[in-house]
């Protein structure tokens, strides 16, 4: 029996996302994709002709929509999740520079746990989801609001859905280009080297501890 060759020393990993944040991300992701898929069937004539079952598709869409805030709000019970939200909320002067810069990824602008693009995506998505919930409520409660508001709610629902769809597309395209970032949404950790390269200020913060 020969001993297997020693495995190369594992590269140290940093904890990036805790369990609550990963669960919220996963549940919200699934619900958003269900909402988008059903919305496409309800809106696109060719898909509607193909799929039909308008009432069933509508029910799935409405219930997935109402379920959407549940994980987002349940996450607030976790201190770690609230800390992530605080980081997403705060913009420093470096974030503004990062947004304006054409060479933002060359490492000269310090980037913390979230870069300015991620922060912006977070707040835009949250705002769009809030408007979609509000306008969806007006569309469903046909007895509560005057017709003019329902028409307005439909218009807002349509356009904010379009906007959220674009945000999700952008989010997915950045994610698909970075397998390590995607893996960390399952395992919670990232290699130190990745952290130093993508989020150097955050890596330094962890190393100083």
């Amino acid at each position: 029996m020969t001993r297997p060759a020693d495995a190369p020393p594992a590269e140290p990993e940093f904890a990036r996302f805790g369990r609550p944040a990963r669960w919220v991300h996963g549940l919200v992701g699934v619900l958003v994709l269900v909402c988008i898929a059903t919305a496409a069937v309800l809106y696109n004539s060719s898909l509607q002709v193909l799929v039909g079952h308008r009432r069933a598709v509508e029910l799935v869409h409405v219930w997935a929509g109402w379920a959407l805030p549940v994980p987002l709000l349940a996450g607030l019970l976790s201190a770690g999740y609230r800390a992530e939200l605080r980081r997403l909320d705060r913009f420093t002067r470096h974030d503004w520079r990062w947004l304006r810069s054409r060479t933002r990824r060359d490492g000269r602008i310090p980037v913390g746990k979230f870069n300015a693009g991620q922060k912006l995506n977070g707040s835009l998505s949250a705002g769009a989801i809030a408007v979609l919930l509000l306008s969806g409520a007006f569309m469903q409660a046909t007895d509560l609001a005057p017709l003019a508001w329902r028409t307005g709610a439909t218009l807002m629902h349509d356009w904010f859905a379009l906007a959220l769809g674009l945000l999700v597309l952008g989010h997915l395209s950045f994610a698909l280009r970075d397998p390590i970032a995607m893996r960390s949404l399952r395992t919670g950790t990232v290699p130190r080297r990745w952290a130093r390269h993508e989020h150097p200020a955050w890596a330094e913060e962890l190393e100083d501890r």
């Binding site: 009432r55 909320d89 913009f91 310090p110 707040s123 306008s135």
Partner: protein, 242 residues
């Protein structure tokens, strides 16, 4: 490395402002949206009708038909195979081919088509046989007070009172938008109930049955009005189309 990227309290709460700003914008849009919608639809309509790529029609706006179906994919019915049955409380049940229907007196109507979900297509040209003509051919029994419609999609049903069904602006439509009614629009033959919301204009019509009472149809079982007059039902106030 500057400390302000680490201190969680550093910087300004831009995220919260963006969130609240969007929420405010959305709320404003809900309250004032009707005027905005009319403006946008009017501005886009000329582009939408002339757009050769069809991309503009992907925008959720404008006065165009949207296709709804309550079941899975509906099998197409060949114009040659199509049959319309008229039965129930009648003296003379009937069964008609598309050619039979086309040989009957045709009536033409130009009306707006108003959907209960809000979209409205202006000035749609319809042609077909008056429903009252088919009812007269069959001879309504004295006990009949209502008409029930069935669709060859197997699920969709609708109903009218006999009085509503005898109106001049209720058609068994063979033509729509200057051509035969296409499959996606409910062809080869669909109902057109001009003064009522779109869901009363049953698609893929295959059966007309005179009944003792009004039997609520598919959408009416789902809380939509049975007497679906445009502008005075379903909690809506659109301009009447009758």
């Amino acid at each position: 490395m500057p400390a302000d990227q680490r201190d969680p309290a550093a910087g300004t709460p831009v995220g919260r402002r963006v969130f609240l700003g969007l929420l405010g914008l959305g709320t404003l849009g809900i309250v004032t949206g009707t005027a905005l919608q009319d403006g946008l639809s009017a501005a886009l309509a000329p582009v939408q009708t002339r757009d050769p790529t069809g991309l503009v029609s992907l925008l959720p706006l404008g006065n165009t038909f949207r296709y709804y179906s309550v079941t899975g994919a509906v099998d197409e019915q060949d114009a040659g195979d199509y049959r319309l049955t008229v039965g129930g409380l009648v003296q003379q049940p009937g069964r008609f081919t598309l050619a039979d229907l086309a040989a009957m007196p045709q009536t033409e109507l130009v009306r707006d088509f108003q959907c209960v979900t809000g979209w409205r297509v202006p000035d749609v040209r319809w042609a077909g046989v008056r429903l009252s003509h088919l009812i007269d051919l069959a001879g309504a029994d004295d006990r009949a007070t209502a008409v029930r419609f069935t669709s060859f999609d197997g699920t969709y049903t609708e109903s009218l009172t006999l009085e509503q069904a005898r109106r001049d602006d209720v058609l068994v439509a063979l033509q729509m938008l200057d051509g035969p009614v296409t499959h996606d629009h409910g062809g080869p033959v669909r109902l057109f109930v001009a003064p009522m919301y779109g869901y009363k204009s049953l698609k893929w019509l295959s059966g007309i049955e005179l009944t003792r009472d009004v039997e609520p149809g598919y959408w009416e079982d789902r809380r939509y009005s049975v007497d679906a007059w445009v502008g005075s039902s379903n909690g809506r106030a659109d301009d009447p189309t009758g």
